[in-house]
């Protein structure tokens, strides 16, 4: 048995990390949201809002600011955080759904992981039993996973953030349940992502890195749970890495030449903004060279994997409606403009 070393993390009891972090989020942003400790959910302060379609998302913790940091005006009405990298349970999703339903129905935004899909499915059935209309949409934008009979299907990654923002704006404008759900679907269908990692990450409960990456190597095609990617390669220059990311995303997106896109360069938690903007510069140039025009962008760490060093690229093919919804005001702990 190896000697247990203390992880280099700010913890009291590792078993309480999620609850204590959520309490801190509520302490910092009491003007926007509240933390229901018993149900372990984050709820928009003025929910439920009569007549407004509500948006609920959730998933394992460790991806902050996703999802709790996106609760507020113009985005999510509630978030259900599970344990670190573990899907929340149906009880949380049901409690969140009941807390935010304003009579117009609730959209569940579900990232495509077996656990998330199964638990949200059970919660949606329970909510229907309670007379709440729920529309569930699964996000699966990760091109690193072959979507075939031989996998659990593509993972939900960066497009989740964009879908929550854009569909949240649609709900804010008074769109119907079907329309809001359809907006989530459209974002998912028009977005593709690809991630890379330069290090693993350390879940608080185990205190050990999920995998070891030798110096000078890069994991290509990673998800957001510290899991290894599809293959490992020698770490090249930033320009060479972006070549791989842009090629993976663009070849799958099959956007028409001249298409207007939103380019989202996301940090995995351990990569500084210095490097993320360097990556964005490369992405912007290479997308234009590939024939698409980044007319909107988002650069920062929004869907993370604890302290993993790495980045993902999401490209969303815009149209007028999606652009307008993206530009609409949003006021949450992690995304804020137009207010």
């Amino acid at each position: 048995m190896a000697i247990q070393t203390k992880p280099r993390k700010f913890l009291n009891d590792p078993a309480d990390v999620v609850k204590e972090s959520l309490a801190g989020l509520a302490a910092a942003h009491g003007d926007l949201l509240r933390y229901d400790r018993a149900a372990q959910i984050i709820v928009c302060k003025d929910a439920p809002r009569a007549g407004k379609v509500a948006l609920v998302s959730g998933g394992g913790s460790g991806h902050e600011p996703l999802h709790g940091g996106f609760v507020g005006r113009g985005m999510l009405d509630a978030a259900c955080p599970g344990e670190v990298f573990t899907s929340p349970v149906p009880d949380q999703m049901l409690a969140a759904t009941k807390a935010v339903d304003g009579g117009a129905g609730v959209v569940h935004i579900v990232k495509n992981y077996t656990g998330d899909v199964l638990n949200f499915k059970m919660a949606a059935e329970d909510a229907a039993d309670d007379g709440i209309r729920v529309a569930s949409v699964v996000i699966d934008d990760d091109v690193a996973v072959q979507d075939s009979l031989y996998t659990a299907g593509r993972r939900g990654v960066g497009a989740t953030v964009l879908a929550e923002k854009i569909a949240g704006a649609a709900a804010e404008k008074g769109a119907s349940l079907d329309k809001v759900a359809d907006t989530v679907k459209r974002v998912n269908e028009r977005a593709r992502s690809f991630g890379v990692a330069l290090s693993s990450c350390v879940p608080p409960a185990s205190g050990k890195p999920i995998f070891e990456l030798p110096e000078g190597e890069i994991e290509l095609g990673i998800g957001i749970h510290g899991e290894p990617g599809r293959r490992r390669a020698a770490l090249g220059s930033a320009s060479e890495v972006v070549d791989v990311m842009v090629e993976a995303v663009i070849s799958d997106l099959k956007a028409r030449a001249g298409s207007q896109v939103l380019a989202f360069v996301n940090g995995m938690g351990g990569t500084p903004q210095l490097e993320l903007y360097l990556l964005y510069g490369e992405v912007d140039r290479k997308l234009r060279a590939a024939g698409v025009v980044p007319v909107r962008n988002l650069v920062g760490s929004y869907i993370t994997s604890l302290e993993m060093a790495g980045a993902s690229l999401t490209v969303l093919q815009l149209d007028d409606e999606l652009t307008e919804l993206w530009d609409a005001p949003v006021h949450t702990p992690a995304l804020r403009w137009g207010v």
């Binding site: 394992g60 599970g82 344990e83 670190v84 990298f85 573990t86 899907s87 929340p88 349970v89 149906p90 009880d91 992981y113 077996t114 656990g115 199964l118 638990n119 499915k121 059970m122 690193a144 996973v145 072959q146 009979l149 031989y150 996998t151 659990a152 993972r155 879940p203 409960a205 185990s206 050990k208 999920i210 995998f211 998800g223 749970h225 510290g226 899991e227 290894p228 599809r230 293959r231």
Partner: protein, 210 residues
């Protein structure tokens, strides 16, 4: 077998997954996200706690309660999968106070059907089904041949363990390990491993109550 068998089974599982927690975490870290040991330990601690507050219930009701507790406390994929499995198994027994070998076969067959239905997995996908299906088959066969319950459960536990080992050379086609493609080959599936622990725990629980 009766309600005590079920409570003992759940306690044996808790002991077993707690002892093997680190190994389950390591197996899951290799091809998943490293939370399986933690989740199973948390879930079965909650199950033992819930069952200790309901001493009077018949075995079927206890299995349903155990299943509900897993769904409410585990999360991930194993929560709904094992939760539904135990609930389906419990419903087979209704309110009867005792059950025999052939009924145990029906309980586990219902559990297996529920897992396969919810998870859409088959033998060979590198999942818990690779351990559970051969265990149910071995139990059904030996009970059908008139073997003692002790022998039948030994055969079931051995079949689950063989099934668990059979996942090593497989490429995962379900769950998070499937994202790794060929890199999942050579690793034992954590879900099949905890399933084998659970069938072994059942064998010990039945031995203790006979």
């Amino acid at each position: 077998m009766d309600a005590t068998t079920v409570t003992t089974w759940m306690r044996e599982i808790e002991t077993s997954v707690t002892q093997e927690r680190d190994r389950l975490v390591q197996l899951d870290a290799a091809i998943g996200d490293g939370d399986h040991g933690t989740n199973m330990t948390r879930g079965f601690a909650a199950v033992v706690q819930a069952l200790s507050q309901d001493q009077e219930a018949p075995p079927g009701r206890l299995l349903i309660l155990a299943g509900r507790t897993l769904v409410s406390s585990v999360g991930g994929a194993s929560g709904p999968l094992w939760g539904s499995a135990l609930r389906s198994g419990g419903r087979v027994l209704g309110d009867q106070a005792t059950f025999d070998g052939p009924q145990l076969v029906e309980v586990l067959a219902a559990a297996l059907a529920s897992v396969k239905d919810l998870g859409a997995a088959s033998v060979g996908d590198k999942t818990m089904v690779d351990a559970l299906e051969p265990a149910v088959a071995a139990l059904g066969r030996t009970v059908g041949e008139g073997a003692s319950l002790a022998d039948a459960l030994e055969a079931a536990a051995a079949a689950a363990e063989a099934g668990m080992r059979s996942t090593i050379p497989l490429q995962a086609r379900k769950g998070r390990a499937s994202y790794l493609g060929e890199r999942s080959i050579g690793h034992q599936d954590p879900g099949a491993t905890s399933t084998a622990l659970m069938i072994r725990a059942l064998q010990r629980a039945a031995a203790a109550s006979s």
